[in-house]
Each structure stands twice: as C-alpha cells, then as structure tokens.
C-alpha cells in the first residue's frame, strides 16, 4: 500500500507538471500585444513596448522562459500579476480569492453531503412512495433545468421573499453568502441524493441482504449495518475530488452573485492575459483535481477490502 501510494503520488506530480507546462506554452503563443492595456498601447511607442517586454523576459525563446518558469515552480513561485493587481505576487492574490471560495465551497459541501445523503437514504427506504417521488422530482428538476434558471429561482425566492442580499459583498460576508451557498448546494444535494438512493437500492436487492434477513436481522439494522456502508463505498470515491474542486469555487455561481472568488479570478485573468495569474490558478486547479482523485482512490482502498491496488507491476 505504501509503495502504491508513493507511486501514485509521483504520477500525480507528473500530471500536474505536464498540465502547467502545456498551459504555459499555450499562453506564450498568444500575441504579445495582449500584454498591454489599450491605454498603454496608445501611450507607448513600439520601442518602449519592446523594451518593457524585453525587461519582463517575455521575448526570450520559449525554452528559456519555460526553464525560468520551472525554477519558479520548484519554489512554488508564480511571479507577479501584471494586469489584475499589478506588481502583487500571484500567491497573495490567489490566497485572498481562495479563502472566499473555500469558505463558500466548504459550507456548501457540508450541507449538500448531509442533506443529500439523508435525502437519498430516505428515498431508498421509501422507494416508490411519496418521499421517493418528491426526491426524484427535485433531482430531475435540478439536473434538467439550466443552472442559471434554477439560480434565478433561488435568487428570486431569496431576495424577494426572504429579503436576503442578492449580491455578495466583502463587508457583509455572512448574509450575502447565503444565496451563493444555497445555489452551490442545490446541485450537489441532487447529485448526492441521486447516487445514494441508487447505490442503496442496488445494494438492498443483493443476495447477502437476503441472507442477513434469513439470519433474523431486522430491516432497520440491515439498512444501517449492511446497506448504508456498502452503498457509501462507491460514493466515497468521489467525495475528496468534489470537495477539493468546490474549494476552487464555481465559475457560474461566483459570476452570478459577483463573488470575488477563484472562479471570477480565473476568468478575469484569462480575459486580461495576466499569464502569471492564469498559471497560478491552473496549477492550483490541476493539483486540487488530481489530489482529489488520488485521495478518492486511497479512501476506496481503505473502505473496500476487495480493492488491492497493486504496486510494482502487479495488476489487480
């Protein structure tokens, strides 16, 4: 297991490395005009601009730039922002945004796991009865209606009827976070409920459940001691990944409520060609995603004894 873990860890690092390299090269392929604001374009003549680019090292051959980037990467240093907040280090920009996204993401995740799994369990227990139908309508609604429409419904309900702030504000983070969190949770509750129900229904028709009944176990204890745990295993694999990805913030929700989080930062940085910030964000997203999958696999291995993820050339 230790061997496997180390191997997977190295593979994950390699993957992140490849991703950031590709993104770096792609960014360098953009025309250099984009590095200046319209104002600067007008103000400076070609020579000044050339000098500025030269000074920033942006006219060096790509391998040289890449090498410099790697050196920074080793120290996890992505340099300074050029456009978003000129001269501020990428890390401090990202860190500020990250805390906002993370706070919303973590709360939404906790709510949706709790509510979603409980809803799924209720649905599975009440299969084909009222509760199940209510849950199904909800899941189908959330999955089939475009997110912006359901967000608008949340907004309309929250802002009009409950008088909650409709835009996020840093001065008032408590109440103004409620609606973004509700929107984030809205979709993931449906997701967790759907899969919990599905896996529980699957498990409860298995033969070993019949044997548990035969040996005189009440359906209550069967639910708790056999079905729930077994149904949770396939679900658990995705929890670390989705947890880490919610930390990165949701593009749509953050745009919708003007949350100054990671999602908005990333789109802003791309729109304004702030390459260093883009690279920082990509690195963060890639790492979170890959670590999430990795943790999911490890969790699976702990929960399910049948899964022997072999190290050193063995296959399972």
């Amino acid at each position: 297991m230790a061997k496997y873990t180390v191997k997977r860890l190295l593979q994950s690092l390699l993957t992140v490395f490849i991703i950031v390299s590709i993104v770096f090269v792609l960014m360098r392929m953009l025309p250099t005009d984009y590095y200046f604001t319209e104002e600067q374009q007008m103000k400076y003549d070609e020579e000044t601009k050339h000098d500025m680019l030269q000074a920033a090292g942006l006219l060096d051959p790509i391998p040289t730039q890449l090498f410099r980037f790697y050196r920074g990467l080793l120290r996890l240093d992505f340099g300074e922002s050029r456009r978003i907040q000129t001269g501020v280090s990428v890390w401090s920009i990202v860190a500020g945004k990250f805390t906002i996204s993370m706070r919303l993401g973590l709360i939404a995740m906790a709510i949706s796991l709790a509510v979603g799994v409980i809803l799924g369990v209720l649905q599975a227990r009440q299969k084909d009865r009222l509760m199940d139908h209510v849950g199904t309508v909800y899941t189908v609604f959330v999955n089939s209606v475009p997110p912006l429409v359901s967000y608008s419904l949340v907004l309309a309900f929250g802002a009009r009827i409950l008088k909650l702030p409709s835009l996020y504000s840093n001065r008032n983070p408590g109440p103004s976070s409620i609606l973004p969190i509700a929107c984030l949770a809205l979709t993931s509750i449906a997701h967790y409920a759907l899969w919990t129900r599905r896996y529980m229904v699957d498990e409860s028709t298995k033969d070993y459940i019949k044997l548990a009944r035969i040996k005189g176990m009440s359906s209550q204890s069967i639910m708790v001691r056999h079905v729930l745990k077994n149904a949770f295993v396939p679900l658990a694999q995705y929890i670390p990944a989705s947890l880490l990805l919610t930390l990165g913030g949701s593009l749509l929700v953050e745009r919708f409520f003007s949350v100054p989080g990671m999602g908005t930062l990333m789109t802003d940085a791309i729109n304004r060609y702030d390459t260093n910030v883009v690279q920082g964000c990509v690195f963060l997203y890639a790492s979170l995603g890959i670590i999430g999958v990795f943790l999911g696999d490890i969790l699976m291995m702990i929960l399910d004894p049948r899964i022997k993820l072999a190290g050193g050339g063995e296959t399972r």
Binding site: D207, K210, G216, R306
Partner: protein, 344 residues
Amino acid sequence: MAKEPILSAKDVEIQFSLRGKILKAIRRCSLDLYEGETLAIVGESGSGKSVFTKSFLGMLDANGSITGGTIMYEGTDISKYTAEKDWLTIRGKKISMVMQDPMTSLNPLKKIGKQIQESIELNQGIKGEAARKLAIEMLKKVGIPDAERRANQYPHEFSGGMRQRVVIAIAVACRPQILICDEPTTALDVTIQAQILDLIRALQRELNMTVIYITHDLGVVANVADRVAVMYAGQIVEYGMVNEIFYDAWHPYTWALLSSLPQLGVKGEDLPTIDGTPPNLFYEVKGDAFAPRNQQALAIDFEEEPPFFDVSETHKAKTWYLDPRAPKIEQPASIKKLREQMRK
C-alpha cells in the same frame, strides 16, 4: 411415520402481482414436514419450489403474498404473519435457509467471522468476544481449517465451496430446527458438491435438524433424501419415500422426469425430453396442469383437477390414473427398468 409433523402447510396459495396482473405461483399446495427427516422437493424451474419454501420464513418478494391456506408451525399459523417482528422470531432461530449462490450471499465488505457473529448476537443474546468464539467454533464445525485466521478474512479471499461453508455456518449458527437448502450445490464445482452435501448431512445429524432440499438434480435427491415431493406448476403432484418415487412413481410428470435421467439413457438414443411448456400461471389452470404435455392424458385430465390417491401409506400421487374407474395404465418402460435395476 405416524408422528406429528413439525411443520404443516395446508392448501397454501401464493400470488404475485406483476405489472397489474396476478400470477398464482403456488396453487393449494400442502406439505407435512416431520422431525429429523430430509425432504427433497424437485421440479423444473418455475414450478414454485423456492417460492413455496420461502413462504415458511416470510421471505417472499415484496410483490408476493400468501393468499390462502395455513402453515402451522409450533401451534401458530405463520402464514398469517405480516409484521417483520413476527417473522424475526422464526428466521434464523427456528427456520433458516442456504441459498444457491455462495458468491453473492456474503457481504463483500465484512469479515466473515463478523458475519457469523452477527447471526449469533442477534439470535442467542450472546455478545462480543463470546459470540466471536462461537463464530470461530462454527467455522471449524463447517470444516474451515485455520478458523481463527480465516475469521478475519473477507469473502473474496474464499473459494466458492469455502464460501458456501461459511453461508451454511451462518444459516445454522443458531441451531434452527428446519434448514431449507435452495439448490445449495448448483453453483458449485461438481467435485465440491459431494463435500457440501456431506457437510449438511453431518450438521443435520449433529444439530438434529430437519432439512428441505430444493433441487432439480435427481442425483442429489437419491443421495440425501428420505422423502421426495415432486412439484409441477405450483403444486405438489406426488410425494413419497425416496424409493417409492424412484421405483414406483405414478404421476405422469414424475415418469417424464425420471425417464429423462441421463443414467437411464441408452447409448446412441436421444434422451427422452418433455415436450411443451408448463402452463402460464397468469391464467386459471383447468384439470391436471400436466395434461397438455402428457401424451397419455385421459379425457378427465382436461376437465377436472385430480385429488391425491394413495399408492401406499406414505406415497400419494395426484393423478386420475390411480382412480379405480380409470382405464388400466401401465407404468412406462423406463420406470420398470429403474425398478429392475434396483432389484439387482
């Protein structure tokens, strides 16, 4: 066998509702079970063998229910039980069951020792370490070597035969009075089958259990059973001591079953098969359910359902052939041949 039966099912009817239609899986089926005996129930797929016996421990699927008749066990009519609470007094403790497929019968995420322990804790009121000791003892009893270590392993670390032993250990952990074995060897390797049958027989003797085998393997029947009941289309059509069924059967369906035994085949000739299909139980069956497939069916077979006629005190068959008014019908050659083989 003038003893009182320990379980007596009388005129049991079981229905399933499937897509709004009613399927009569069991049609007025009666069965007496005597203490310590081994009864085999044989019949083709869909004849209701499993459904009938599952009703003894309330294990019918959710869309099925007992709609008629009585199942008397220890002075109570258990066919009237509807609450799970009632069935829990029976399941595992009094009547238990071994299912067909050991590969899926165990929880893949629980150590097998724990799975046996669960059964003991539930039914014997023993908890923790003491229950664990009993579980390990049970594992030894079903012939699993190195039981202490094996108890800490998961099902996937066991072979099919070993798993079936574990399933049996779970089923008998609480010393049930009746053990229903629903095709316990069908999913197993032929070489393992005999071992499992021996194991069940040994446990039966040791724990003084009554065993019902559900099978369509007549070889198994000949090996283990004291009595045989033949089921067709949701009814028992003939029952008797194992010799009486094998060598002096009277129901045309039993004849057909026995004639298709590979052991009776003549080299170079096709084995006899039973033409046609069993009746569709969504519809009312008129007369003898087997009549449409019986080339020697009597006119009355299509009109009226035959009652049971005595062949001997222990052997009864549900066929008009045995009615004194019926034309003289000879047992088919293959049945005579079987009888002769026995004489030798």
